[in-house]
Amino acid sequence: MTTTDLAAGRLEARERPRAGAALDRWRVPLTIAVLAVLPFVLPSQALAVNVLIYGLFTVGFNLLFGYTGLLSFGHAAFFGTGAYLTGMAIAHLGFGWFGAMLTGVLGASLLSVVIGALSIRTRGIYFCMVTLALAQLVYYVALQASGWTGGENGLRGFTVAKADFFGGFSVNLLNPLAKYYFIMAFAALALWFVSRVLNSPFGAAIEAVRENETRARACGFDVERTKLLSFILSGALCGLAGTLSALHLSIVPLDALSVHTSSIVVMMTMLGGAGSFFGPFVGALVFLLIEDVASLWTSHWQLIVGVIFILFVLFLPKGIWGSLIVLARRAGRDK
């Protein structure tokens, strides 16, 4: 505990690689730039749109799991609710595209208040089980309310051909590339928002809660409220991903609310690396690429995904991007 140790001080300054810091500062523009060229480098545009939508879904999930430390197995509830409400607002209520999106995001946020308030009363492993069960509740409600949701067949009949903006400007959503950039615009906004949240004092608070709940409480954080707010932000982002998926597909399959959808987002996060900014998109890209390639020669691609996932949990628990960060940090220290 010497008060000054200049030699050590100089060593510390080098510890964070400069490339890492720059990457951090430019993370939003960088991600958007990569997303912008995605339709031209990936095998298909359909794949690119999916990376966008599921990437955003994973970003929202990662806010709760990676940064707040709460593993939810029920995030399909928010994705699916966002999608269903958007579709229902257009199909049943005649809303415009923007009003429908707003309905979807607000509805998903509202649902996340309810599910969040219930599930954060429990901790740890219990939390995973409760979120999964509550999401199943939403699934069965949607299944039963077939008059509104189309039940097992999913919701159909709400194609949005073009999106009008103020001032007469409009985007032709029947053109795949135009639709891609339309969706990307919202994803970019959401990314910018998430980046701000992570840089904000609240971003520090959720990390403190993740790292040590007891200590965070002793420091003066209201842990329950912090968790709930993070849960709601996460739910809203996943709801946004859902609304975009509805606009993209023009149908909402019942599967959007299923355990399968909740699982996909967990796997994508783990593959990419929980608790890192780029991890979710890396994870979504890798997952969808595996699906794309593997499904060419077998209909049982989920077996491959499952095995890869198990290998990741065993040997690469920090995921692809998370492991890269560790490597970079180590390299920076050895210099």
């Binding site: 492993i125 039963q144 499952g306």
Partner: protein, 289 residues
Amino acid sequence: MDLELILMQLFSGLALGAILVMVALGLTIVFGMLGIVNFAHGALFMVGAYAGLWIAAQTGSFWWALLVAPIAIAILGMVIERFLIRPLYGRTPDDPLLLTFGLGYVLVESVRITFGTDGIPFSAPEALQGVVDLGVGYFPIYRLFVVGVVALVLLLLWVALEKTRFGLIVRAGARDPLIMKVLGVDVSRLWLLVFGLGVGLTALGGVLAAPMRNVSPEMGTLVLAEAFVVTVIGGMGSLLGAVVAGLLVGVAVSMTALFAPEMATIVMFGLMAFILLVRPQGLFGRPGV
């Protein structure tokens, strides 16, 4: 609504609940001892049902299936514990959970490859088909049989837990893992056995459930969610809670089906939400878990 119908439905709920008790008990025993939630639990229930199906087809006897399938799947469970879960002890509790979750995927897909994606009917042996008159009404024999088997298993389990050294260790360990060290117990062997037991119980549930519903690769998903509901209601880590809540959920689902069939599945999740509101630790759980 006449009394006989209500009684029958009540009884049918007990049979449904009995299956849930098997699944939830397996989950709870593993959680109590190893501190992990096995997300492949539902998939192993399903694998148990398929194993029963296969053995019954090979031997032509339901009884062999009932006896051999749970033991075979329990051994599979021990292999899983030994080679996949054991490397994860000492990491965060999320890691075994995630691993078993991935394993569930692999199991479901493997079954799809082996047995196809469609559901397969599985009929009870002739001796257990039909109904029996119990004076207050006619009850399906097979459901009576299920309740009987589960009651027997519970009795055996109770004897094993209360009257043997193994049981003493399990109970002590569930309450305070540190005591294991004090007693000088070989923890890794014990955990292997406990995991096998937990998996065996859910597999038995799978075999028993098979004649009551179609056997399909997806049958484990709903069961896993149901088992979670039961565990949350009963109280995490409480064996008594798992039994009481399992029967409660079974009866609640089946009674709701009588009055409002579309609400049948929904009601148990509602029940769970209610318990979370008024008693977050569950009916028999200790606060602070």
